[in-house]
């Protein structure tokens, strides 16, 4: 849209400029009766850059969709053997699963193929990390409080779907690692009491890897259509809620830049930059920087090189198998739960415990309920209980991730995995609650020092 705010011959009406020189706008306005009021929507001043984390996640998803489209056009979700006739010497002329061969072809025989594949990988990692950091920002600043509980629930759903996308996407190359990781997920699903078999049939459509021929196309459908469609719908809902309710605002906002602004504590008003041109410009900058970082990562850090890993084989179990880093805490919970609970160890560690953690996260808005609407962000130090819970949750994720890497920890320390198990278990059970309690009492003391009540 052409806007010329400094135009000297623009028709003005009561100090308001019209669109004399924007033929495009007038053409669209004549047909769609545009309401340009939306262009001025206020986006609060973002002193710490944290309000833009959601945009980093959004643009990572855009890059995922773009690179995924490229990859999806050349990937074939079949397990039947084909003769690979590409550049990789090790497999040239060999029979390998069709899915594996197509990933090899994309990586080594198609222009931009390897770059796009790596960019897709790193965009996925950045997507999950940005969502996580975005949610931590919302959690610690209390931005989920009334009236924004629905958006927290939508955001939680988005995080779960992103993890699901990671799981199904990891399976698609049908290499030795992905087959093993997919099998672990299959076994965890099957271990759920009562509904395990039904869920297994619903999600997988049969036993894995025995029925991989039928399961891989199903995963492809989930990964490239079903989950992205739901994610896009939820992102739209997330944006709708954001625009309808307006963004939260830092208490020390840009109100001090104007002597004629509203009172500093007036929550009935939101103060910030208009969507057009200022916020849109910032969004373009965030998009360029996000894409740039992903490009550098794709260039400098190759990941999951299937040519080295080798095709899926029912006869081998590769050493050093581990899930993607964002599933490492679930892997750790699985390892910390010995199969002694009447045979339900896998279910308790791999499904029940992560389910409780995710459930508490999603339903936190009902645990920390607020009757009155709140539109200013809170200082995390003023909220002992939520901040302590948040720190304990971060600590839990990290110590379980360490537990998930137990074989590497043991190797690094020159011990056996069995020898370090008691230490890992002790750390898992003691460190998160200890850190949470330390934070809670430190913040209570701080409030007492300031003469405030938590």
């Amino acid at each position: 849209m052409a806007d010329d705010t400094q135009s000297t011959d623009a028709r003005t009406d009561g100090g308001v400029e019209r669109y004399e020189h924007s033929r495009l706008y007038r053409w669209l306005d004549a047909r769609l009766d545009l309401d340009d009021d939306a262009f001025g929507k206020a986006f609060p001043d973002d002193r710490y850059g944290s309000f833009l984390l959601g945009e980093v996640a959004l643009f990572s998803f855009v890059i995922l969709a773009a690179t995924g489209t490229f990859l999806g056009l050349m990937y074939t979700p079949v397990t039947s053997e084909v003769v690979y006739q590409g550049q990789v010497a090790k497999y040239a002329g060999q029979s390998v699963p069709g899915a594996f061969a197509s990933v090899l072809r994309i990586s080594y025989d198609v222009r931009f193929g390897m770059f796009v594949r790596m960019a897709h990988h790193w965009a996925a990692y950045l997507f999950v990390a940005a969502m996580g950091l975005h949610m931590f920002r919302v959690f610690f600043t209390g931005a989920y409080r009334n009236p924004r509980e629905p958006n927290w629930l939508v955001g939680s759903g988005l995080l779960l779907l992103a993890l699901g996308e990671g799981y199904f996407g990891y399976a698609l190359p049908y290499d030795d690692f992905s087959q093993t990781a997919t099998t672990i997920g299959f076994q965890m699903t099957s271990s759920i009491p009562v509904v395990g078999t039904m869920l297994k049939n619903l999600i997988f459509g049969g036993d894995f890897p025995a029925n991989a021929t039928y399961i891989l196309p199903r995963f492809f459908f989930y990964h490239v259509f079903l989950l992205p469609a739901i994610i896009m719908g939820l992102i739209g809902l997330h944006m709708f809620f954001l625009l309808r309710q307006k963004h939260t605002e830092h208490p020390e906002s840009s109100r001090d830049s104007s002597p004629v602004g509203p009172d500093p504590d007036d929550e009935s008003v939101v103060v910030g930059v208009p969507m057009w041109p200022n916020q849109v410009a910032m969004s373009i900058i965030v998009f360029c920087f996000t894409t740039s970082i992903i490009s550098f990562l794709a260039a400098l850090f190759p990941v999951q090189r299937v040519a080295i890993i080798g095709p899926a084989s029912p006869l081998t179990q590769p050493s050093g198998v581990r899930p993607d880093w964002f599933f490492m805490w679930v892997f750790g919970a699985l390892k910390m739960t010995p199969n002694i609970f009447f045979g339900y160890g896998r279910f308790i560690g791999g499904v029940l415990f992560p389910g409780v953690v995710i459930g508490v996260m999603a339903l936190w808005v009902f645990i920390d309920r607020h009757e009155e609407p709140v539109h200013f962000t809170a200082n995390p130090l003023d909220r002992p209980m939520p901040t302590a819970v948040g720190v304990a949750a971060i600590s839990t994720i990290i110590v379980l991730s360490i537990a998930g890497m137990d074989t590497f920890v043991a190797e690094t320390l020159g011990m056996s995995a069995d020898a370090i198990f008691p230490y890992m278990l002790g750390m898992t059970l003691l460190v998160p609650p200890a850190e949470g309690l330390i934070v809670y009492y430190a913040l209570k003391r701080r409030l007492a020092r300031k003469g405030e009540v938590a």
């Binding site: 003005t12 340009d36 980093v56 790596m118 790193w122 103060v271 920087f289 430190a442």
Partner: protein, 190 residues
């Protein structure tokens, strides 16, 4: 901005568990072999060829560390850019709102303009935009050339990364010197 001691305590507590996790993750980054391609002379493209001594591969543990570090770098870039555009873009006196001709979308029954710093269009801004435009064109040309020739992943990524980084800086410079900086106040309940 004063950092309170409780903030430091929280950072230390998280660091106490994060540091060992990152240490063990990085320690697990076992070196792996390169991928041998068939007779290199006949290959139209060589996607694995590099010019920087980077790892052949990072495993899933290491990729977690790299992802979070990259995200922190990205956030730092965004924060710095945001502050730069505000600090420099609002270095002039605020325009008297009575004298300004405002675009129609800024004001409505529920919204009013609080502050308006007009664009300054200085010569240094023009020179910077010219230089950045040239850089974007150069990186785009290098990217196209690489894509049409050996399609080396590392080269493609560096060129594309530099091109996009330059484009981001271009928009930041344009925002700072060639775009008015505006603050509006809007009623929430509408």
């Amino acid at each position: 901005m004063r950092i309170e001691r409780e903030t430091i305590l929280i950072v230390v507590l998280i660091g106490l568990v994060l540091a060992p996790m990152w240490y063990f993750a990085l320690a697990s980054g076992e070196p792996t072999a390169g991928v041998q391609l068939q007779s290199d002379d006949d290959n139209e493209i060589v996607p694995s060829e590099t010019f920087l001594p980077t790892p052949n591969e990072v495993n899933t543990n290491v990729s977690g560390v790299v992802t979070w570090l990259a995200l922190f770098v990205l956030v730092a870039m965004i924060v710095y850019t945001r502050r730069f555009t505000e600090r420099v873009g609002r270095a002039t006196d605020v325009l008297r709102l009575d004298d300004a001709v405002m675009p129609s979308w800024l004001t409505s029954e529920d919204r009013s303009v609080l502050s308006y710093w007009p664009a300054r269009t200085p010569s240094v801004g023009l020179a910077t935009l010219g230089l950045l435009t040239w850089a974007v064109v150069v990186f785009a040309a290098l990217l196209a050339w690489e894509g049409l020739n050996y399609a080396r992943t590392q080269f493609i990524g560096i060129y594309m990364g530099m091109m996009l980084l330059t484009m981001g800086v271009w928009v930041a410079v344009y925002t700072t010197w060639f775009m008015p900086s505006i603050t509006v106040a809007e009623r929430r309940e509408h």
